[in-house]
Symmetry: C2
Subunit: 600 residues, 2 copies
Amino acid sequence: MPDTLHPDGFTVSTGALPSSRKIHIGGTLHPEVRVAMREIDLEPASGEAPVRVYDSSGPYTDPAAAIDIRRGLPPLRAAWIAGRGDVEAYHGRTVKPEDNGRRSGERGADLPPFDRAGRPVLRGKPGAAPTQLAYARAGIVTPEMEYVAVRETLGRQQAAARDGESFGAALPLVVTPEFVREEIARGRAILPANINHPESEPMIIGRNFLVKINANIGNSAVASSVAEEVEKMVWSIRWGADTVMDLSTGRNIHDTREWIIRNAPVPIGTVPLYQALEKVNGVAEDLTWEVFRDTLIEQAEQGVDYFTIHAGLRLAHIPLTARRVTGIVSRGGSIMAKWCLSHHRESFLYERFAEICDLCRTYDIALSLGDGLRPGCIADANDAAQFAELETLGELTKVAWDHDVQVMIEGPGHVPMHKIKENMDKQLALCGEAPFYTLGPLVTDIAPGYDHITSGIGAAMIGWFGTAMLCYVTPKEHLGLPDRDDVKVGVVTYKIAAHAADLAKGHPAAQERDDALSRARFEFRWRDQFRLALDPETAERFHDQTLPAEGAKSAHFCSMCGPKFCSMKITQEIRASAAEGMAEMSEKFRAGGGDIYVRE
Amino acid sequence: MPDTLHPDGFTVSTGALPSSRKIHIGGTLHPEVRVAMREIDLEPASGEAPVRVYDSSGPYTDPAAAIDIRRGLPPLRAAWIAGRGDVEAYHGRTVKPEDNGRRSGERGADLPPFDRAGRPVLRGKPGAAPTQLAYARAGIVTPEMEYVAVRETLGRQQAAARDGESFGAALPLVVTPEFVREEIARGRAILPANINHPESEPMIIGRNFLVKINANIGNSAVASSVAEEVEKMVWSIRWGADTVMDLSTGRNIHDTREWIIRNAPVPIGTVPLYQALEKVNGVAEDLTWEVFRDTLIEQAEQGVDYFTIHAGLRLAHIPLTARRVTGIVSRGGSIMAKWCLSHHRESFLYERFAEICDLCRTYDIALSLGDGLRPGCIADANDAAQFAELETLGELTKVAWDHDVQVMIEGPGHVPMHKIKENMDKQLALCGEAPFYTLGPLVTDIAPGYDHITSGIGAAMIGWFGTAMLCYVTPKEHLGLPDRDDVKVGVVTYKIAAHAADLAKGHPAAQERDDALSRARFEFRWRDQFRLALDPETAERFHDQTLPAEGAKSAHFCSMCGPKFCSMKITQEIRASAAEGMAEMSEKFRAGGGDIYVRE
């Protein structure tokens, strides 16, 4: 169970997962690279090697790490960033009261502003393009790229045989740093890494890599505290979130974000429009390019790694939503639609897109092109509005690439199963294979309270078809704000979807964990089953509800069938008696086409 | 919330679901047919018609029904069965102590044996074939078939436009009684309806009908009471189970089954091998055809509607499992494998299959051909053992049909996504389109505690591809016995999978409920969203966790985004101001290709 820390009354979940150790694998091109991963130790008597797994949880699960939320995480990448010689420190923008949504005289947050002392604000030098895309195009393999290569292969030099249907994805047997560079250079993968977020452990989002998942956190006007949001970030990466989006819309947005980023080992994404709208008191018509641009700079300096920008929603698209059952369901999309209609002019996000790209290049912020017109129900899936916007997103992808800016594309939403693949195919074709990042999709509308499942089905499928990152949906979707348990269920459900997609695509190493768990199951190593599970705590708790006795952890049956009906026990008995030498019978079976129960 | 009854300390869940009424639609060919369904009333101010939904819950959700567990349900089909003139009452087999697994002197169950007074034991007259398959082949549309036709179309005479990919399934726009007859005659659908289970409401399992789900219940050696099992049956149909399998393996198997069947409005399935094994004290080698046959007759007379029989597992298949990671994971399969190896002879289920069919014909019991060699993990999916058995199941299907016996085929199990379709394609080809009935499949092994989700993904997909019935998996799978909450989560998850499959196949009426719920969502009719949800209680509870006030039920926002950021609210505002007449702007938008926010 996780330990917790309480500096200033602050609580975050720390401690290793059961029977797990943090290990670090060194780089070759860049010996200073030390890639963190998790190794799960199994019962010594089993003769099984430890199982190595991808680990997004950062130092929080490393008992050797000194966690102090007030100081933030160590700036892992600071020397790499500085070492490239193309960035400069400067006196950043001064924080204004409206950045935190405060009216005069109002009380502050539950925590004071994060003390950023010693962490300079950086930007690219004039004319420089300090982006991973620019480096990749120049043939440079950065330490970040090597980190990702080691991380994706879990330090393996060779991989198991491939078995899958990849729909055109080209998964290499071993991910080399050069392969990472090529994929980034081609725009087929992104490595979100703001130069002002040196605390992040590099990760990659692309169709030819492991499928990633994102967890959304953030307060709303109905509130939750800064401390709660930091813990939600730590909690969601503990269970496997690869990136976290801070979608806060209430007060203290600026301070909350600073606390999150300084303590986040994963890339942080935002929708800057939300904060911009707060600054104009929630009146969409009052939004201006100046307010928006100032917000981008504010967040860029803090270290946001990717921005969702709804620049693809154009004035002409809006009438296409007129007959929809649920209209426009993207918050950003509806805000921009209202702005466009009120002013009766083209969206400033579209018109100023090149300027947005210039700004993103300066800090290496990846763009996540928002799907403001995504369908909000089964009836609206794959309609003219949705695909018109996608076409615009394809145009904008090329503009971003022209500016050396990394870019991915957001996708739906609510889509019945038979219309999912068309989304993937169109996205690949229209957006030049830039990574796709979808929300689900939910495959039916009739199960509020279970939308992690309705969307997990769609997510697994679209992940298989080629989506690079899946944005989680919690059981509270459509109903309320997720609490801690909801976040965990959402993350675990999406880890299932992403892993199922990796298996089906034929990722060379994906099946190792399945096989290790299945062997543990067959051999009645109950503790190893729990350890290898995505959620060891729930697996053990469920088992113990019917058979809590310690002895049941080594019993050769469980409460489902009892000892007499346990098929695995019977199979083991058969194998054992075969091994004891039913010689002549074995002979006959061999004649029938195979050996009997000889364990390899 | 469900009411409960307590005769003799017995508790079952009764009462209507929120805002729902039980309605009955009459037959035409058979005016005595009255098909039960559920209508959900929506807010009167909405102008929305009530939404009619398929209802498997039986009289328990009908406040007008007098439920008395001790008397059982009314024998709905008794007159239809008798009216055909091809069955006779007889003095059935005498119940033996070993039917209940009791040793001498042992205490009985928590309930006395069910008093069957007034319900005769029936069998087909000599030479008769009182099966729905025989009737269908003879061109007879039975009341059962008309019941099913009305039920599948919810009494509609016409349907919405179709939109889907059915992979060769031929879903009619309106299901006629004649269509039902043809599908049964062709063996492509089954209507499980033992003549000794007149209490059941007819339902159909076939690729050209709505996808069905099964819930497993039953005690194990670790126990649970008779009363608990009856309530589990009532509870699982309340949430949507279309059939229930009683997989009891502990004591009081006979009495538990009798209580369940007499009170079950859905078909009941069993695996007779489990009880037969109890009768030989759990020693697989001691099983004999005589004990097994006697058990079939025992269960046939009680009214079991379908038998899982593992007759496809042949001696020669067993060596094919030798290199598997998890061997044989079907309980029935492992028992028969042990029997075959011990005696070194062919399985008596295979050798006596024609006799089994004769017996099933006498009572109209459908066969569910068990997949004793289904894969128990990702590594073993689609292997030689599995497909060798499937080939045998194809042979046996034809034998069953030759005997006028209805038959469906069981399928896996654990299968990664890219190998799911091959299962469906092979089953259709090898088994002449007999209905497929799968357990999940689970698309990964690494998430014990969440296997309703890992399997729900596979279930939705294989249901789309053509599987007729999906056997649920609960969160406790691989870990322990499901409790009441687990059963509900399993059923709801599988209703999601089945409905998602119906949508994707293009079932003409499937989308109506989605659309009604989406309209309610767009119009902020929170109560209607809850009412239309598969699980209204959970939806309302989740909403109330953040906004419990009564006023929030009509609020034009929720806790997720708060009022300022609610995209639906903004879209409504846009539509409203457009409707108020921004005339010249509208003109311009129309020039752009469409009307603006004119609600049809």
